[in-house]
């Protein structure tokens, strides 16, 4: 089936000047102009420069090319600062490109923020009209959908109350409801999923899904890989203002995870035995995180089994060594601490000379998505620390699980173990 291209981005670039935002005054510019007129050097130049230093130039986007076909749900992913927001701003006409062309077929509505232009003194109804008009709806369109909007936002009792008296939840619900009832051919969405409580989020996702199934085109920017995997049909990956991957969601997401792992510390080796953590006799040699069973590194998702592997050298016979590790969450709060139990071979036994390997396995489907660091220690039989390495390893767990339409937000807590559940009918009495 031939589906027409509805967005074509060709050679798109956007340049920003760093550091001088709004920092110019008329006086400075006049002084500069006067100096130039009289052939004097620019008074705002540093010595040795000919043009004033306004700040560094930064290419937020560089030669971006991609096409979106009708009915695509395109996920735009990338780390903070990769250029996602800039791209959305250009597509939604908030700012103009520095170079390149964007061609669009059809009406575009962008949700970069819900509740844009809400006025606190106006009632819910008045704000629905105003906000709808700002987003590009006519009065008649809002009137036709007003009942639906009010029902969706669950604010029917308060619709004629000024929104300054709304709770923040009501405010956000009304704002999203107006936006959700836009009917553009192309919808641009930026992380609005992060609003509202769980029940309302479920509703929002449902709405997004129905927009998509209605044959309209959606561009969706998010950090939430689970949401991207579930909702989108295609994705592009932005890195430092360039498109580095494009294609089906699964491959682009895994590309993203590969890159996001780069900042992690997954393997540390101490080559010099004298300065390695430990004391004379027992020295740590290496500590690493093994992802996947066979040693080849894999992207770490919530389902990946992990193991922490440490190697130490022992130079004296008969030393007893107890390893221990503690896993910390992103806010440095401990998730759990673990040490080998009695049935682990060599645990607590006097060790001969040699090099030893300690391994602790963390099963898949245990950790939640987020950043983790590993604290590792070796303790001797008198419970004195032989060595202690804080932040020995750090890694990120991502959530890419595709889910049935439902909760797409992050689950709470540092762990998300897969537990056995059952639901059974115990009686036929209703």
């Amino acid at each position: 089936m031939h589906t027409p291209t509805v967005i074509s981005v060709e050679g798109l670039s956007k340049q920003y000047r760093l550091g001088v935002i709004g920092g110019r005054t008329l006086r400075a510019d006049l002084a500069r102009w006067w100096a130039r007129k009289r052939g004097r050097p620019d008074p705002f130049c540093k010595i040795g420069q000919t043009t004033p230093q306004y700040g560094e130039l930064l290419w937020a986007l560089r030669d971006v090319d991609f096409k979106v076909r009708q009915g695509d749900i395109l996920g735009i992913i990338g780390r903070n600062g990769a250029g996602k927001s800039t791209l959305l701003k250009i597509l939604s006409q908030v700012t103009a490109p520095t170079e390149g062309v964007v061609k669009i077929k059809g009406r575009v509505a962008s949700l970069l923020e819900v509740g844009t232009g809400f006025h606190p003194e106006l009632t819910g109804r008045e704000n629905a009209y105003l906000n709808g008009a700002i987003l590009g709806m006519t009065r008649a369109e809002v009137t036709r959908k007003l009942d639906e909007i009010i029902a969706f936002a669950e604010v029917d009792r308060f619709i004629d109350t000024p929104v300054k008296r709304y709770s923040s939840g009501m405010y956000v619900r009304l704002a999203f409801a107006v936006a959700a009832h836009l009917e553009p051919e192309i919808l641009i969405v930026d992380e609005v999923l992060a609003v509202g409580d769980a029940a309302f989020q479920r509703k929002c996702i449902g709405k997004m899904g129905s927009v998509a199934h209605g044959g309209r085109t959606v561009l969706f920017v998010s950090h939430n890989m689970a949401a991207v995997s579930t909702l989108c049909t295609r994705a592009i990956l932005l890195e430092n203002g360039r498109v580095t991957a494009e294609g089906d969601v699964a491959s682009v997401v895994s590309e993203y995870l590969q890159h996001s792992a780069e900042g992690a510390a997954l393997d540390r080796v101490w080559h010099d035995n004298e300065t390695a953590p430990g004391r004379a006799g027992v020295r740590l040699h290496r500590i690493r995180l093994v992802t996947g069973g066979n040693g080849t590194p894999q992207p770490i998702t919530v389902e990946t089994p992990l193991s922490v592997e440490a190697t130490f050298r022992n130079g004296e016979d008969g030393v007893r060594v107890f390893p221990a590790l503690c896993l910390m969450g992103s806010d440095a709060s401990p998730v759990f601490e673990s040490a080998p139990t009695g049935d682990a071979a060599l645990a607590g036994q006097p060790l001969p000379k040699g090099t030893f390997r300690v391994r602790c396995e963390i099963p898949g489907s245990l950790l939640n998505e987020g950043h983790y660091t590993v604290w590792f220690a070796l303790v001797d039989d008198a419970a004195r620390e032989v060595c202690e390495v804080r932040d020995a390893l750090s890694f990120r767990v991502d959530d890419t699980q595709q889910r049935a339409m439902g909760w797409l937000g992050k689950s709470v807590g540092p762990v998300r173990p897969r537990l056995a559940w059952s639901i059974e009918r115990v009686s036929d009495m209703g």
Binding site: S8, H119, A133, I134
Partner: protein, 288 residues
Amino acid sequence: MAFARTQAEDEGWSLVLTPHRGWFDLRLRQLWRYRDLVLLFVRRDFVAVYKQTILGPLWYLIQPLLTTITFTVVFGRIAKLSTDGLPQFLFYMSGTVIWSYFASCLTGTSSTFIANANVFGKVYFPRLAVPVSVLISKLIAFGIQFALFLIFVVYFRVRGADVHPNACALLTPLLLLLMAGLGLGFGIIVSALTTRYRDLAQLVAFGVQLLMYATPVIYPVSSLPQKYQMLILANPITPVIETFRYAYLGAGTPIVGDLLYSTVFIFVVLAIGVLLFTRVERTFMDTV
């Protein structure tokens, strides 16, 4: 550029975003499509200003009344300035009412970009919708004040004062158009420049006040010495105010040539304003 656009339209693209746009590309058709938004802005400004005030829209009447009374006392009774033989109260009120339409259009539109940076940064709609909505809401305010003025004209006439409304009153729409055009022109120039130079916002606040003294609001042109008359006639607002006063009170010096001069002047200011506005609206989010 023009070529690219027609070619793009041939290929069925409804929107083409490029680094540059035509100099006078106002997108008036788009503005028309967003006319509901303009009216909602007008309504918002009205409702928002007078919510939780005791007197509400009465302020629209109190403002010109108090100004007129102050002028009558200070300039009429104390300084004893000439009023072309007209009742002082009517003379000052006529000047105040039409002047404040210009002044409020100018100050209202001059903060377009800065005051709306938040909304402009999130969603696109024709930026001109904001200043245009200002012109309309100020026009409503003018309408209320103008009605008050007419009531006083009738009252004075019934009391036998020497005032003669005449056919020149038919020019009123043109006069308003000129005032709105000049206010909009200067306003959007300032709004475009304040995205770079914040100093201008300060200038507008008292600049408008000073400009009033360079305009025959509190004195008639005829009372000036010959050498100053040329100077005051260079001010494009002068013919508008003189004509307005002549139309409703029957004294003053309306000259068609002067009005023509004002019209040309205002067109030039508007053109410069539109030029700057369309340039700035493309990228001002990067500099605000």
